[in-house]
Structures are given as structure tokens and as C-alpha cells.
Symmetry: C2
Subunit: 122 residues, 2 copies
DNA sequence: GAGATAATCAGTAACGATTACTAAATTTAT
DNA sequence: ATAAATTTAGTAATCGTTACTGATTATCTC
């Protein structure tokens, strides 16, 4: 994976926010800096960066996919009211070995998402 | 939520399999029993049954949403190779209270998905 | 059980997120 | 500086899902 101005810009957008934007939100933010950037470019780079483990994708039971620029292991809380996705600081659980034993396969990672009402929406 | 032949059929399909079919797979299975069943009906009932907590939806990083007829608390393993979703029997984790404390909100549930290669694909 | 009321359906159209494609521009290698 | 490889913008196509409508089926009341 080489360098490109757009890819750098995407990474910078994602590193500069504590929110967990969707592809479209990232696109809008990038367009402020360069109105000529293309939505296809956003999706292509999100896929590339996700595959490389440089960013994280977050699948929720609501709306479309969210992305996270921080890859140190952590979990997420999704509000069923406003849909906001926020980081949690609870410690990572260590049960991948157990899962490997049970499945006979290999585990590369896991995602843990909590659902509920956030402070505001409760 | 009332009774309907199609809704019963959907539930029966979901209870009769240990796989975790997508909406479309469920649709195909239902069509074998009744060729006139509609895809819209499948989606509508999946949404209703999910809201009522009678079935479970599983969001993964691959393809479309999968559904699970068993709602006792359990977790899932998704193969990055073949995409198969399987049940795990590891014990539920008890950290929702901790999440409530951290967020100041209320937690209604959580999903835990492991990714990797299954026995066959490894 | 018959008729009224409400829920649900089949079928199809519309939608929104994502992916695929192509010729032009940019980056990298020589 | 030139050639080769990668990436882009822009747009069209795809796919999962949702919305809509008039017809059907279930439920309720007598």
C-alpha cells in the first residue's frame, strides 16, 4: 500500500476525532479540505486500511458502518436512542484461547459492543 | 403482535436450524414450503421478532445480517474464510454493570463476536 | 357462525449504502 | 526524465433493505 494525499487525509480525519464516523461523515469532512475528493476513494481506502489493521470498523445493529482510528484493543457502547458510538475503557477480556479450543479454528480478534441508552437519552 | 401463518413458518425455520441464516436464506427456505411468501414479509417479521426479543440479529463484518432463533445468552464465531457463523458455549461475561458505571447510561445487552478461521478454512 | 375491525400479506417500487468501472492524474521506480 | 504502477474522480451498477398499496387473513363482538 503506497502513499496518497487522499489516504493521508482520511487517516488524519479519523485520528483527529473521538467520534466514530460513518463513511459518509468522513467523506463530508474530507470535502471541506478538498471538494474534489470522491466517495469511492473514501470507501476504497476504508477497506484497505481496515484490512491492514490500521483502522477499525464497527458494525452495529443500527445504520451503516462506523470507523475508528484507534486500534489499541477497546470496546464500544452504542446508544439505541441517538445512535452515538462511544469508546469504553474497560479491560479487554482474554478468552480467545478458549474460543480456539472450542472451535478448533484460529481466532484473529473479537468485537464487543454494548447496547443501551446513553446518559442523555436515558 | 398477533399470529400469522407466515410468522409461524419463519420461526419454525429459524428454530429448526443450527445455522444462522440471512434474511434471504430464510426467504428461500420459506419459499420451499410456500412459493407465494414475500421477501417483504420476511424482513418485516424479522424486525418485529427482533424487537420483541424472540429472535436475535447478528451483525458481522461480512455480508448481510444473520439471524438466530435461540436467545439464551451466547456468543458467536465468524469465519473470515467461508463466512460461516457458529455458536459458542463459553460463559456470558458479566460486565454490563461496569459499563453502566462508566457511561452513566443504561445497558440493555451486548454482543460479542469472534473472528478468525474455522477448522476447515484454517 | 356472520359481519365488522384490525392486522398482515404479496407484490412491486423506491431507497441508501456500497461496489465496480474507466479514463485521467499522481506516485514510485529506473 | 521517463516508464510502469498505483490511485484517483466521477459515474453507473448492484445489493440489501424499507416503504407503499390494495387484497387477504386473523381477530373481535354479537
Amino acid at each position: 500500500m503506497g502513499y496518497s494525499r487522499q489516504r493521508e487525509m482520511l487517516l488524519s480525519v479519523l485520528k483527529d476525532t473521538k467520534s466514530h464516523p460513518t463513511a459518509n461523515a468522513i467523506y463530508e469532512e474530507m470535502r471541506k479540505r478538498d471538494p474534489k475528493v470522491s466517495l469511492g476513494t473514501v470507501y476504497r481506502n476504508l477497506a484497505l486500511l481496515t484490512e491492514s489493521g490500521i483502522i477499525l470498523r464497527i458494525d452495529t445493529e443500527h445504520d451503516s458502518v462506523h470507523y475508528d482510528g484507534f486500534t489499541h484493543p477497546h470496546y464500544h457502547f452504542v446508544c439505541n436512542g441517538c445512535g452515538e458510538v462511544s469508546d469504553l475503557s474497560i479491560n479487554p477480556i482474554g478468552i480467545e484461547a478458549e474460543v480456539e479450543k472450542e472451535t478448533g479454528g484460529s481466532v484473529a480478534g473479537h468485537t464487543l459492543v454494548f447496547y443501551g441508552k446513553c446518559k442523555k437519552c436515558k
